[in-house]
């Protein structure tokens, strides 16, 4: 009979990633509600040192699974290795973070069990021993409650930020189970990861940011937002599509594939508020959204919102701020 919860630990450059602690927190929370033990698995050529670190958390055990083919990440290698561990431990639930790496191999892993992931969940609810998972759909506009029918294991991934790393509970030292795992042929060969040319603009210290999204419609219209930024003494930034279109350089992009910022004022103009954007700015002090769609997810995290056309609102806002600042 399937038993327990297995949590997958991700690491980069010899360090366990913060999102793995979020995954541990998620697994522990489910574990205590379902009265199931939580074990962790970490992969690598020699992941024992990192396994030691993980063993400090309140876990039944840490599986340290090694193979020379796990030196760098490949979907083939990771899928084979985790599959072996899952088959051996036979857990009810496999918990992972919805990171780029898990997006790459997680669906392949679940497919080995003729399943898919319940992916990118934001919360769970346990009632009478069964779990309801909540995920965002339609680009963040709606929530969906999902239940899993059928046999174990259930594979679930959590959105970054669904749990906090500091929610992971420490324990009294979990036993480490070292094991050499079998890995088949690796078909893809990775080159070393790299960053593009060094970023010229560092927005992480900006106090005021005026950010534009696809609602700005054209490159010419950026002048409107720039004027507002100038009056405020702030910096201009953007959502990804604006930088993809090269209307602004990539070092102005905010979000999971751009910069993470925490200014005291963030004004989002014509930005819908996709999760990949929100993770880059949700820690701003005061968040303002101007958007014509009252249901845009950006309003979920905004302190102040104006529902309406930014082309009407922004010139007025700029003038009003000029007045306040005694500039006109």
């Amino acid at each position: 009979m399937s038993n327990g919860i297995l949590v997958f630990i991700e690491h980069r450059n010899g360090a366990v990633s913060k999102t793995s602690l979020e995954a541990i927190a998620a697994a522990q929370s489910l574990g205590s509600q379902l009265q199931q033990q939580v074990s962790a698995v970490i992969l690598g050529v020699d992941p024992d040192a990192m396994a030691q670190g993980i063993a400090a958390y309140d876990l039944a055990k840490v599986v340290s699974a090694s193979n020379a083919k796990l030196a760098s990440y490949t979907p083939d290698g990771y899928t084979d290795a985790v599959e072996k561990v899952v088959r051996q431990l036979d857990p009810q639930l496999v918990v992972m973070s919805h990171t780029y790496l898990v997006r790459d191999f997680g669906p392949k892993l679940a497919a080995r069990f003729e399943k898919s992931l319940i992916s990118d969940c934001i919360r769970t609810q346990v009632a009478e021993g069964s779990v309801t998972f909540t995920r965002r759909i339609f680009l963040g506009k709606l929530d969906a409650d999902v239940v899993s029918d059928g046999k174990a294991p259930v594979f679930v991934t959590f959105q970054s930020g669904a749990y906090r790393p500091d929610q992971a509970v420490k324990g009294s030292g979990a036993p480490i189970e070292k094991r050499e795992v079998e890995v088949g042929e690796i078909r893809m060969s990775p080159e070393p990861p790299f960053q593009e040319v060094k970023q010229a603009v560092d927005l992480s210290k900006a106090e005021i940011i005026v950010a534009i999204g696809r609602g700005i419609k054209s490159k010419e219209n950026i002048a409107l937002a720039q004027k507002l930024a100038d009056v405020l003494g702030g910096d201009i930034a953007a959502s990804r599509p604006i930088c993809d279109a090269e209307w602004l350089p990539i070092d102005r992009q905010i979000g999971s594939s751009g910069q993470t910022v925490a200014p005291k004022l963030y004004i989002a103009l014509g930005i819908s508020g996709a999760i990949q954007h929100l993770v880059g700015m949700k820690n701003a002090g005061t968040i303002v959204a101007i958007n014509k769609d009252p249901e845009a997810p950006i309003f979920d995290i905004a302190d102040y919102g104006v529902v309406g056309d930014l082309f009407e609102a922004v010139p007025v806002l700029t003038e009003e701020i000029k007045k306040i600042k005694g500039l006109s």
């Binding site: 497919a111 898919s116 709606l142 059928g150 060969s189 004022l265 007025v316 009003e320 701020i321």
Partner: protein
């Protein structure tokens, strides 16, 4: 090189979504639909590879008859022919079931390359392509932003988190999931639209044992997200009045200006 592009029809980005009466999906009756954003970039990438190396680009879409508009648009942009997996009740397939139906529909075509978008704008599972690759026994790469198919091995640039990238090489046949925004998507020309009318669209029915199997992930309820913050909405729908009130609040209340 034979490339198959998987394309999904989804609700338009700016469509107003209304929850259906039974609370398990949205009202689709009067909804406007469009092609899933990243799938459009997958098609563009496939067309560019064909322009360089020659070969054929097929599109494959699954859904009711309305999904034909996605197919016709792809043919007008330059795809050579299409496969339409037709069915009215395919919306709620799990990614595993959807990938199984898609894999079966194209298996006999023996493509060198399959391209999909990296995730759909409706369910957002981000899994269908990867599962297809597993079912077809192909290597894959996700969140691909550059494709070099000119060598004897396929070389692709993948996006990692926070501004990091990595190149991977792999043998073909392979499957790639393509990131949005990596190129400029071409428009369909009038000539393309005319030519599309003569292109083949093969209709197939998905295997009953795949679509009939009970799903291991069942959608119970769909609803508006709970707000995490108390947002002060200003102006009551009047953008100008809202802007005046906003400046005042930022000054007096939030004290950020």
């Amino acid at each position: 090189m034979k490339i198959i592009v998987m394309m999904k029809q989804v609700a338009s980005k700016d469509a107003i979504l209304r929850i259906s009466k039974d609370g398990t999906w949205i009202e689709e009756g009067d909804l406007s639909f469009e092609v899933n954003e990243s799938d459009g970039y997958a098609l563009e990438e496939a067309l560019r590879v064909r322009e360089k190396l020659g070969g054929e680009v097929l599109v494959c879409a699954m859904g009711p008859q309305r999904a034909k508009s996605v197919i016709k648009d792809a043919l007008a942009r330059g795809a050579d022919r299409a496969i339409h997996i037709v069915g009215d009740n395919l919306t709620h397939l799990s990614p595993y079931a959807a990938a199984s139906a898609l894999a079966e529909a194209i298996r006999d075509e023996q493509p060198d390359l399959i391209m999909t978008g990296l995730q759909s704008d409706d369910y957002g599972y981000a899994q269908t392509g990867v599962i297809m690759a597993e079912l077809l026994g192909m290597p894959h790469a996700t969140i691909v932003i550059e494709v070099d198919a000119s060598g004897d091995k396929l070389r692709v640039k993948r996006e990692l988190e926070s501004g990091w990238y990595q190149w991977y090489s792999m043998p073909t046949p392979a499957l790639l999931t393509i990131q949005s925004g990596i190129s400029q998507i071409r428009y369909a020309t009038l000539k393309g639209i005319m030519a599309a009318k003569k292109k083949e669209i093969k209709e197939v029915v998905p295997p009953a044992e795949i679509v009939g199997r009970p799903s291991h992930q069942r959608l119970k309820r769909v609803y508006l997200p709970q707000k995490t913050k108390q947002t002060q909405l200003l102006g009551n729908g009047d953008a100008k009045a809202g802007a005046v009130a906003l400046a005042e609040r930022l000054h007096v209340e939030a004290r950020v200006i």
